[in-house]
Point group: C2
Chain length 365, copies 2
């Protein structure tokens, strides 16, 4: 392939390996594997999951649910609080597939009960510590009241309790990720003990990539919904979820200028390609991506002492060493391992495999 401008490359072998590994872990633990498709956003990548035996999926919007339903997926959970304004699309979709929606308030339950007519599944969103959305896991009474309402719904079904321990993304070590998971499961256990007094035994759906990658024991969980693991990224490597060798996407970017005094390279590859997500290294530097060279079979390990230090709309600035700034020529292409692959995929809207096959997503034109 003749590269012309920033192009997202996907290493299919690494991706298949990531899928296989998570599927095996789910099977070994006897939990249902309902991967989140918001990372890859692609019907073709979805088929690789189907080939691995996956039948049920998670998405983050009605738009994405419609796209995957049109590609043959019959069991889809929208892990996002129900958006009342999309009631027509939800009703249409729920006629043709098993659709699970997410609620976290009586207002939302009443809306769904009154306005969604085909039978759907309803998850109740529980906040086990992340403090983004959901009912606080300690609020046993409030949770009980809502579960009872859902269980007595006209014709919808209670699908279980859904949690997302997104606070693992802020952990400073693998041990802290384990602690966050353990603390959350202790609280979930207390909730389940309380609910069992009322003869309610809810299924538990959980799913952040750091916990699902690092833990081997999923006791207390019935279903897992990780998404990012399909490609991983620099943030996950820093968290300890994966190695650099597991990262399955890299943005190929042309070098357009150099500054030998500052040991900097300017690439065509900016916020509109990578997104502005960053991690902070131990010296306090913001890192918007790491840099790799391409070889015949894909790309190498990240270059040492080299990182994307800033992004404008179309520009990226790479800080590197005197040796590399001399070696890398204007007009050559380098690869950028993204900090947050979900957002980079969303920015780019299509990939190319290493064999030059174009892979589209739900937003490809």
């Amino acid at each position: 392939m003749k590269l012309k401008r920033p192009t997202l490359l996907l290493d299919k072998e690494k991706c298949l390996h990531n899928i296989q590994k998570m599927k095996e872990k789910a099977d070994k633990n006897g939990v249902k594997f309902r991967p989140h498709f918001k990372t890859h956003q692609s019907a073709e990548v979805g088929e690789w999951f189907r080939d691995a035996g996956v039948e049920a999926i998670t998405v983050s919007s009605v738009t994405m649910a419609r796209y995957f339903a049109s590609h043959g997926w019959k069991d889809i959970s929208i892990a996002f609080p129900v958006n009342f304004a999309e009631v027509d699309e939800i009703n249409e979709l729920a006629k043709t597939i098993r659709l699970n929606l997410l609620i976290e308030s009586m207002e939302s339950f009443i809306f769904v009960e009154d306005n969604i007519h085909p039978k759907i599944g309803i998850y109740l969103k529980i906040d086990a510590g992340y403090q983004r959305t959901g009912i606080a896991v300690e609020d046993h009474e409030k949770i009980l009241v809502l579960i009872l309402e859902i269980m007595h719904a006209r014709h919808h079904e209670f699908e279980g309790l859904l949690l997302h321990n997104g606070n693992t993304y802020h952990a400073k070590s693998v041990d802290e990720i384990r602690q966050i998971h353990t603390q959350s499961m202790i609280k979930i256990k207390a909730l389940k003990d309380f609910l069992s007094l009322h003869d309610i035994v809810p299924k538990i759906s959980s799913g952040d990539t750091p916990s699902m990658s690092i833990l081997n024991d999923f006791s207390g969980i019935d279903e897992i919904r990780p998404g990012n693991f399909v490609f991983y990224d620099v943030m996950q490597q820093k968290l300890g979820s994966c190695t650099f060798g597991d990262i399955a996407v890299a943005l190929a970017c042309p070098v357009v200028a150099k500054n030998n005094e500052r040991n900097e390279l300017v690439i065509y590859g900016g916020a509109i390609h990578l997104s502005k997500d960053f991690i902070t290294d131990n010296d306090g530097n913001r890192i918007f991506g790491l840099v790799v060279f391409f070889d015949k079979t894909g790309w190498e390990e990240p270059l040492e002492n080299t990182f994307v230090k800033s992004l404008s709309q179309e520009h990226g600035i790479i800080k590197t060493t005197p040796e590399l700034v001399n070696k890398i020529k204007i007009g050559s292409f380098v690869g950028i391992l993204p900090v947050h692959s979900c957002l980079t995929v969303h920015q780019m809207r299509e990939f190319y495999s290493l064999k030059n096959e174009k892979i589209t997503t739900y937003l490809s034109c």
Copy 2:
């Protein structure tokens, strides 16, 4: 219009006012107005500039240049270091319009000289303090050597020196913006004095929105290229470039959940809609957008003590007051004034006017 999901609304009256004001300022100063179109990215908004008498424009990529050329623009500067890999597209485009490219090194000049065949204009990129790209303004000899090469080019033309004082975006006050501009112009003056000894009188093209909005005197400048001013945003308001009333775009977002204990609203509207750019307030809070109510003619001033405090892929979390968290209902829509309108426009790829007219961009499907 029945809103269903995050939708970017454009107040045409505010936008026309912003265009008119900048055009008048350019005319009054006798400088050429070559607005940057990377903010709006839209042929239709481009026509509003044409109606105001604009004939020459700036873009940030070959892709964008081709789009605007296909919509009748005949004089386009690509204010981005030339990307060798797009040589075919550049040659094609330069056959039909006046195209100006940007270089900052001998390597790039030689590439252009050897590979671009139709006559083009060449700007030399000067770094007057921002330290992103360009030759340091103090490096008189290096600049002279490159100008002489360009002036003796086979058939290309020397278009002038191009600078972008992007460091004004980090200023803490309007006075600091004035100082950055003044310092940069003192250095440019010294460079021009040096070049005049060699009988070279280069045109100066400058263009950051903060300086162009705040200053009234453009002495020493021949051409201005601001872009963001067409819509402005929360970052520009904080810098002092505009008032809240000048901000011409707002993202309409459905409220999907609430947390009364934390005084938080959850909206459908995340990083994929707004981008992850943020400003930091005086208390150290990251602000990803401000919140407005819609009224019959558009939207009101931002709500007090209320801001978007975090963004995930599709979620936004609004921190607000006990009164507002009670008042705002799940299922209603609020408006978000973006922190960085260029990136929000890029994320959304289309707008709707307040009269419900769809406005497309170069990336609309």
